[in-house]
């Protein structure tokens, strides 16, 4: 094979490799959400209330303890799981229960859910419980317009008014 033809073939093969790299480095385009959908993310990092109430120690009990351990109240460490229920237009789309972290179940409850929903106006209701009985004592209900591609984050921040929609 003559030199020109060989170089031509080399150029062709280099070009084919480059074209493969160039194409697959950006194509085909990927749709991160189904067309016409928005995304609701439920993200939570919250320590639930203590599962059991504190109990006052009797004088006898205190006497049995070492002097440096004589706390007046005995407070079991275990916390209640945190429950979040999300209803969209009257239909429950998630109802998650996050257990407390840690061997003694005394840490924060962490949870995450990803909920693609059709774009449009929706009636959103978020119910939140963090006590041992699982009572939804905090509820937020709103009519929201979610355009396609919109990402709504549902969070819980006691310091910022409990249920946050961001």
């Amino acid at each position: 094979m003559n030199r020109a033809l060989r170089y031509g073939l080399q150029a062709l093969l280099y070009g084919a490799f480059a074209a493969t790299l160039g194409y697959f480095s950006t194509s085909p385009a990927f749709e991160p959400l189904p067309p016409g959908h928005a995304l609701i993310r439920v993200s939570l990092n919250h320590a639930g209330q203590r599962k059991f109430a504190c109990r006052t120690r009797s004088a006898e009990e205190l006497a049995k303890l070492a002097p440096n351990m004589r706390a007046a109240e005995d407070c079991p460490r275990e916390r209640a799981p945190v429950r979040v229920k999300v209803d969209l237009d009257g239909r429950t789309v998630t109802d998650l229960v996050a257990s407390p972290a840690g061997l003694s179940r005394d840490g924060a409850s962490v949870a995450y859910r990803r909920l693609p929903v059709p774009a449009g106006t929706h009636r959103l209701r978020v119910s939140f419980a963090d006590d041992a009985a699982g009572t939804f004592d905090r509820v937020r209900e709103e009519e929201m317009h979610l355009e396609a591609g919109r990402v709504l984050v549902i969070d819980f921040e006691p310091g910022q008014g409990a249920i946050i929609l961001r």
Binding site: Y14, L44, Y112
Partner: protein, 525 residues
């Protein structure tokens, strides 16, 4: 020779035919298929250099990263945009050649026994490469970065140990924190450094490691990358916005395919698929048995400690140790059977392998139990004695190359070796002295030796560029080295016909003995 010894499988032959197409364009020596590992190193260095270039102007805060790259594209064009494109495409080329390297070695069943270490470190390198590559997509902090990072954290959050904690770093605020972003940058520096260590380990058991592609291939690849950067520069997507996901993302499928797979399989499904895939790859060397010739054996009575086997072994399976017998030599060869490929290159390097020795039972310093040098000499003598007509040609054929036995006829005799480099150059001279008009040494394609270095060692020995060398008294025009892969019998036949025509023009050899005089005397008393 033992018929149960390994030969190339169907997958290897199929890929060899594809590679043969590239031979036409690049020639055998420059065929990129035979330099995939070295090209991987090369693209890695380009990726590092362009990455350092970008890092100089990169703002390492979450709020400033995107703007700094946008400014680089605006103010330093074409250098800024070129550097970013070079970084992207060299990384893409790196993962592409790594994947091809994996497929090629898999098709050749290069994963067990003495190759196990290289295989396992290669798998680890691939994992780190993918992690480093995906992590690189987070740093521009554009829409693709935001989505890729979130997908990755969602994937890890599927593990009970994280349980949603990681994704919170990305979604639970107006912007990710600079502290968290610094961690991402650290990952994109630390993982490539880890990868460099893995690449170093990957080539530890090969000698010498080929970590640089031939110059022509390096220039060609650099020109290809440069042209691609100019033709299709990388455009920065809009800055990350945690409240919005674009309808379509220009995905780099070479790295970010796991995200697309996760959308299809779910996070748990992707974990199962990933674990199954890598577990299967990692288990391959343990779960399957790839046949290989038994390890070389040292015969101290014939070893003078010259260290030629040590110098030529492509797998560092031979070491020189202090002498353990009473012979007056300082060292002796010792074979590590776990590292020995059973290629016989050491036998070809041993000066004791000369067939001119008078012993009826030829023994050498380091020999192959499946194909002892004495048997090969006997076979050569038998085949040479049976040759008739003119010109008489002996083919020393590599077991892994074209099946030279199919070219046997009354004037042509093929003798098979474990590797072309197992043929001691003295065998070539011996064949000519024993009656052959010419000797054709048929090995694998150039740069394609099953045992890495056999083709180069054979060429060096026949060209008297390295020991043991073909003696200058041997007429070089009667010796030909022909590279012919397993699927290239037609090419070998054509080369044989050409050699035969050349030998005819040279005329028959003046001296022709069935055996050299000394051996004749010995044999016939």
């Amino acid at each position: 020779m033992d018929a149960a010894l390994p030969r190339p499988g169907r997958a290897a032959l199929a890929l060899e035919r594809v590679e043969a197409l590239f031979d036409a364009a690049f020639g055998q020596r420059l065929n990129p298929w035979r330099h995939l590992g070295a090209l991987g190193f090369y693209f890695f260095w380009i990726c590092c250099a362009s990455g350092i270039w970008i890092y100089v102007g990169f703002d390492t805060s979450a709020t400033g990263a995107w703007e700094s790259l946008a400014a680089m594209d605006r103010n330093e064009w074409p250098l800024g945009a070129f550097a970013r494109a070079l970084h992207r495409y060299s990384a893409d080329a790196l993962v592409a050649v790594t994947a091809l390297h994996l497929v090629r070695e898999l098709s050749r069943r290069h994963y067990a026994a003495f190759r196990r270490f290289a295989w396992l470190t290669g798998i680890f390198t691939l994992v780190v490469l993918l992690a480093a590559g995906i992590g690189g997509y987070w740093l521009p902090w554009d829409q693709l970065a935001q989505w890729s990072l979130t997908s990755t954290t969602e994937w890890f959050d599927a593990l009970p140990v994280f349980d949603g904690a990681l994704t919170r770093n990305v979604v639970a605020g107006e912007q990710v924190s600079d502290r968290f972003f610094s961690l991402l940058i650290f990952l994109h520096i630390g993982l490539p450094l880890t990868m460099l260590g893995a690449m170093w380990a990957h080539v530890q058991r090969v000698s010498p490691a080929r970590t640089n592609p031939p110059r022509a291939l390096a220039w060609g690849s650099a020109a290809m990358l440069a042209a691609l950067c100019l033709v299709k520069p990388i455009s920065l997507l809009p800055a990350a916005d945690l409240a919005f996901l674009p309808a379509r993302l220009p995905l780099d499928w070479l790295y970010l395919f796991p995200h697309a797979l996760m959308a299809w399989l779910g996070a748990d499904g992707l974990w199962v698929a990933t674990a199954a895939c890598f577990a299967a790859l990692a288990a391959l060397p343990f779960a399957t048995r790839v046949p290989r010739a038994p390890a070389a054996r040292v015969s101290l009575a014939n070893c003078n400690g010259c260290a030629r086997c040590f110098a030529d072994c492509p797998y560092d399976a031979v070491v020189m140790v202090a002498r353990t017998d009473a012979r007056p030599h300082a060292r002796q060869a010792e074979v590590d059977p776990d590292l020995c490929a059973g290629c016989g290159i050491c036998t070809g390097a041993c000066p004791s392998s000369t067939p001119f020795r008078r012993d009826e039972e030829l023994a050498t310093g380091i020999d192959m139990p499946s194909s002892p040098i004495g048997q090969l000499r006997a076979r050569l003598e038998e085949r040479t004695a049976a040759l008739a007509g003119s010109p008489r040609i002996v083919i020393f054929a590599c077991r892994w190359g074209a099946e030279a036995a199919q070219l046997d006829n009354s004037a042509t005799a093929a003798v098979e070796f474990l590797c072309a480099a197992m043929v001691p150059p003295s065998f070539v001279e011996y064949a000519l002295r024993a009656g052959a008009d010419g000797v054709l040494v048929a090995g694998c394609r150039e740069g394609d030796c099953e045992f890495r270095a056999g083709d180069a060692l054979t060429a060096g020995r026949l060209d008297a560029a390295r020991a043991p060398a073909l003696r200058p008294t041997v007429p070089r025009d009667r010796v030909r080295l022909v590279p012919a892969g397993r699927s290239d019998l037609a090419g070998l036949r054509a080369q044989l016909d050409r050699f035969r025509a050349d030998l005819e023009s040279l005329g028959p050899r003046a001296r022709r003995h069935a055996l050299p005089p000394k051996r004749q005397e010995k044999r016939h008393g």
